[in-house]
């Protein structure tokens, strides 16, 4: 298993290099000019100087190599400096956002907590309610619980979050006034009251996203359980005199979790990708919102870096999913 993990990690390097290059070239090809926002009164020679300052006069492969060096060497050094108080990165140029003239990574680190709190929490809540729902739905197939669960997850999965989100705002913020409709990033949780306030402002976006996630995962869980409930080993377990509880929660669940855990692990990178639409609806200024703004402003270093980070996470969680699969299923051996 360890050699497998190491081999996969090494293989991830060329994969990520290639992904980074493709993203860079696609952004190169995309129309748009980072100078487009600047006033038309700026004379052409000044405009040219500004281009040079951004490094836009260099050929693409120079710019790509520089970005690669910065993301692979400089930014990790900054992180190490920050953690251990060293000064490896001193005087080295970091990846700078064209829009804000501020290091891209610093902005990402600022935005990360909001995304993790809201989207991450929604994912966690979604998984935690989806698994029991999937189990009960499968064990009591076609019961009232299963029918309602199927209907709700159908609705949750097919109605887009911008609709449920706005609906929630209309009902709970505008009409009932229970929850704020705008997420306040400035809020610092210091005491009980601010904690409650934080919970209140998280409630709606978390609910909307959790509904969506739970709909999907509970379907997987149900299907996987149903698959396994019909297996011969279930009959064997019953014939051994095991209680129904042991049969379902040990014998069947352990087998059913194998594909579901993989699905859950593969879904985790999407947390960091942010829920672009939901973040917009609830004004949560997380990573998804950051990406949208950067795209609109032609802030190529920001778009490039964010997209690349998502790619890293996807590659990483693919590996984690494979490893989990190997741990849960003794028939899979990677050596």
């Amino acid at each position: 298993m360890l050699t497998f993990a190491i081999r996969r990690l090494i293989l991830a390097v060329p994969t990520l290099l290639f992904i980074g290059l493709v993203i860079f070239l696609l952004l190169e090809l995309a129309p748009g000019d980072p100078m487009a926002d600047q006033p038309l009164t700026i004379p052409p020679e000044v405009r040219e100087q500004m281009r040079q300052a951004l490094g836009l006069d260099q050929p693409w492969w120079v710019r790509f190599s520089l970005w690669l060096y910065q993301i692979a060497v400089v930014e990790p050094q900054v992180l190490i400096d920050h953690l251990f108080g060293t000064s490896f990165a001193e005087g080295k140029a970091r990846i700078i956002s064209w829009q804000t003239k501020f290091p891209v990574m610093d902005i990402i680190v600022q935005r990360l907590p909001q995304t993790l709190w809201v989207v991450g929490m929604a994912y966690l809540v979604g998984v935690l309610i989806a698994i029991p729902i999937g189990i009960i739905s499968a064990v009591r197939q076609y019961s009232a619980f299963d029918q309602i669960g199927t209907f709700v997850s159908m609705v949750g999965f097919s109605v887009p979050t911008f609709f449920t989100g706005v609906l929630m705002i209309v009902i709970f913020s505008v009409n009932l006034g229970w929850f704020p409709s705008i997420y306040n990033t400035q809020l610092r949780v210091t005491d009980w009251d601010s904690f409650l306030q934080q919970l209140r402002q998280m409630a709606m976006p978390v609910f909307v996203l959790a509904l969506y996630n739970a709909s999907q995962i509970s379907r997987y869980m149900r299907a996987s359980m149903l698959d396994n409930l019909q297996q011969d080993y279930v009959r064997t377990a019953r014939a051994k005199g095991m209680t129904e509880r042991t049969v379902v929660l040990r014998h069947v669940l352990r087998n059913s979790m194998i594909p579901v855990v993989t699905v859950i692990a593969l879904g985790i990178p999407s947390i960091f990708g942010g829920a672009i639409i939901t973040e917009q609806v609830f004004k949560v200024n997380g990573l998804g919102q950051l990406l949208i703004i950067a795209i609109n402003a032609n802030d190529l270093p920001m778009v490039q870096t964010l997209t690349f980070m998502f790619a890293v996470l996807i590659v990483l969680f693919n590996l984690i999913a494979d490893i989990l699969y190997g741990i849960l299923d003794p028939r899979i051996r990677y050596d």
Partner: protein
């Protein structure tokens, strides 16, 4: 039945119905038999004759829904298993009554070790400690002829061959020294030498533990060698039942006779071509009020369409459900049927 020993298992008029979307299928239609301590009862019949469903119905192991045991009684140690509360029935399953299923490739849970799966009933029914259960599990594995048993306890089923898995299944069924072992084609997946080992093992366990065995099989050769009594099933009913010598020496039901002609003989003169019984067992959408074998029977009479024959005695502890065996109904007087629609 014939000699005075009280039966350990007494099944009376058992009926099981599968309620499917396409309508009801009557899989078991009034099966009655009994099993004495230490005896081996062979159950034969082709696929779809209701053998497995009958045996699973005894312990209410048929999947419900769609299946439902609709009638009858299964008396074991003075109690009716069909009316026992679930919790008490569970104590018997795997404890007093062991069950070996037919498909060893899928009957073990792939994600638990073999040792864990053998230890489970030991811990639940006998309340053994982990260590004691492990010792007993190793003992059971070597009992069923798996070498190096102790170290193999921590292996997973996929690390075992088909025959070894089947032996693991047998070890699980034997774990708690059951009074009754129900074995559904336990040696079908095994090669002949292993099969012989398992048969020897069964014989010695029956002697040692006084365990009664119900042995379901297609293999008439095995049955002839090991069974005390034989039950021939067809259409969810027992069509012939008797001591093994009587069944093989004096088969009285046309189905039994037809079955026996499908067995190749090794010794003796070179036989005629192996025969095949044409057609398939019926799919019964209602309890039969006719002889279920009529469509495939070479000796069917007009009465076979109107009445379902009862089991007529034809010898000492030997009976057959066929009008040909009805002493009060001379077959000559019944009009031979020309054609059946």
């Amino acid at each position: 039945m014939t000699d005075g020993a009280a039966p350990v298992l007494d099944v009376r008029d058992l009926r099981t119905v599968f309620r499917t979307r396409g309508g009801a299928v009557h899989a078991v239609n009034g099966v009655s038999f009994s099993l004495k301590a230490g005896e081996l009862l062979g159950v034969v019949g082709e696929s779809g004759s209701g053998k497995s469903v009958t045996m699973m119905s005894l312990l209410r192991l048929v999947p419900s829904p769609p299946a439902e045991v609709t009638g009858g009684a299964v008396l074991f140690e003075g109690r009716d298993l069909l009316r026992l509360p679930e919790a008490e029935l569970r104590r018997l399953r795997g404890g007093r009554i062991g069950f070996v299923f037919q498909d060893p490739m899928t009957s073990l849970n792939p994600v638990f070790t073999v040792g864990y799966q053998i230890m489970e009933p030991l811990r639940v029914h006998l309340g053994l400690s982990r260590r004691a259960a492990r010792d007993r599990a190793a003992e059971l594995l070597s009992l069923v002829g798996i070498p190096d048993a102790r170290s193999r306890l921590s292996d997973y089923p996929h690390q075992f061959s088909g025959g070894m898995r089947q032996r693991v299944m047998i070890a699980i069924a034997l774990a708690c020294n059951p009074k009754v072992l129900i074995a559904d084609e336990p040696t079908t997946a095994l090669d002949v030498t292993i099969q012989a080992q398992i048969l020897d093992l069964m014989a010695s366990l029956r002697e040692k533990l006084g365990m009664a065995v119900i042995w379901i099989t297609h293999d008439l050769g095995v049955i002839a060698g090991i069974a005390d009594r034989v039950m021939v099933m067809y259409g969810g009913q027992i069509v012939e039942h008797g001591p093994v010598e009587a069944i093989f020496g004096n088969p009285s039901h046309p189905y039994t006779r037809a079955l026996l002609t499908t067995v190749p003989r090794v010794r003796g003169e070179r036989p005629r071509r192996l025969t095949v019984i044409e057609g398939q067992p019926p799919l019964l959408t209602a309890p039969p009020d006719f002889c279920t074998f009529r469509d495939r029977c070479s000796q069917a009479y007009e009465i076979c369409d109107r009445l379902n024959p009862q089991r007529y005695p034809v010898g000492e502890g030997h009976d057959a459900a066929c009008f040909l065996c009805d002493p009060g109904l001379a077959p000559q007087s019944a009009a031979p049927r020309v054609a059946h629609v």
